[in-house]
Amino acid sequence: MKKVFIALVPLSVFIGLIVLLYVNLNNHSEVLPSPLIGKKIPQFEHPTLYSNQVLNQDDFIGQPWMLNVFGSWCPSCQFEHPLVTALANSGKIKVVGLNWKDEPEDAIKWLKRWGNPYHEILVDYQGDTAINLGVYGAPETFLIDAQGTIVYKIAGVLTEKNIQQELMPLIEQMNQGATNP
């Protein structure tokens, strides 16, 4: 009886390992939690791509908004672009682009080709604001409330699923908060 038990040890360790690996298969540990959620958006000052202005964080106070980090060099940004466009066109939230480490000419060409859904586009040529926001890959999307607090972050592409399940409830909530404070 004891021998049977001992013989089963390697098998149970093996099964345990398989279960652990299987569980982790769907758990994307490369998506990191952001320490910035619940904090104020870091200070920035960037020229805009088209409107020839210089905007900072205070220019966005008063209305909830969404910051979408993108670059013309980023294939996944192109992939999620129709969804960003749909969200911007829905009028539910102000969508601002952060053009990250991109040549302005390339960005303009890219936006001409795929459409420009953005309310404003901030040009982060050096990538400073991206670092301050803890961006580690494009695309990334931040939800920011009317007071300038970061409410949520999605690292990676937007999908129908994460827009419906994660972003929309927060957007509705922020919009309600904005109408009846």
Binding site: L36, K101, G127, Y136
Partner: protein, 131 residues
């Protein structure tokens, strides 16, 4: 056979070429350079998550190295620079994780394994002595 030898030779040549990123930062003194080396070894590259900053050639890693170098030159200490990174990227960026609720298991799992081993050893020795 000859082809095989050639392949081996090419592989050996390739292995001898060290693909080491050459850092182009100039520091005021050796201490600064050492601090920079230490920090880029202890900070994780967020793009290639199993590399440290020093070993990574990713674009973001370069930006972060620039940032670390600038801080070092400005005379910031290791603590300040690490806090700067952790505030933005979370504990994950640090290869030397702090002890808190979420890293408790990480820190104490070796001790746990050691204890289990100790108990098994203890039981076995006791049994042998009795038998």
């Amino acid at each position: 056979m000859n082809v095989f030898k050639i392949i081996i030779f090419i592989m050996m040549v390739m292995m001898s070429i060290k693909s080491h990123a050459i850092d182009v930062y100039e520091f005021d003194n050796v201490q600064q350079e050492e601090l920079y080396q230490q920090l880029t070894k202890e900070l994780r590259c967020l793009v290639c998550q199993n590399q440290n900053l020093a070993d990574s050639d990713a674009g973001l890693a370069k930006d972060l190295k620039d940032q670390v170098a600038a801080f070092v030159k400005a005379g910031q200490d290791a603590e300040t620079i690490k806090t700067y990174m952790i505030d933005r990227y979370g504990d994950f960026v640090n290869y030397d994780p702090p002890m808190n609720a979420s890293t408790l298991f990480l820190w104490f799992s070796p001790l746990l394994v050691f204890l289990i081993g100790g108990i098994i050893l203890f039981i076995n020795i006791r049994k042998r002595q009795h038998g």
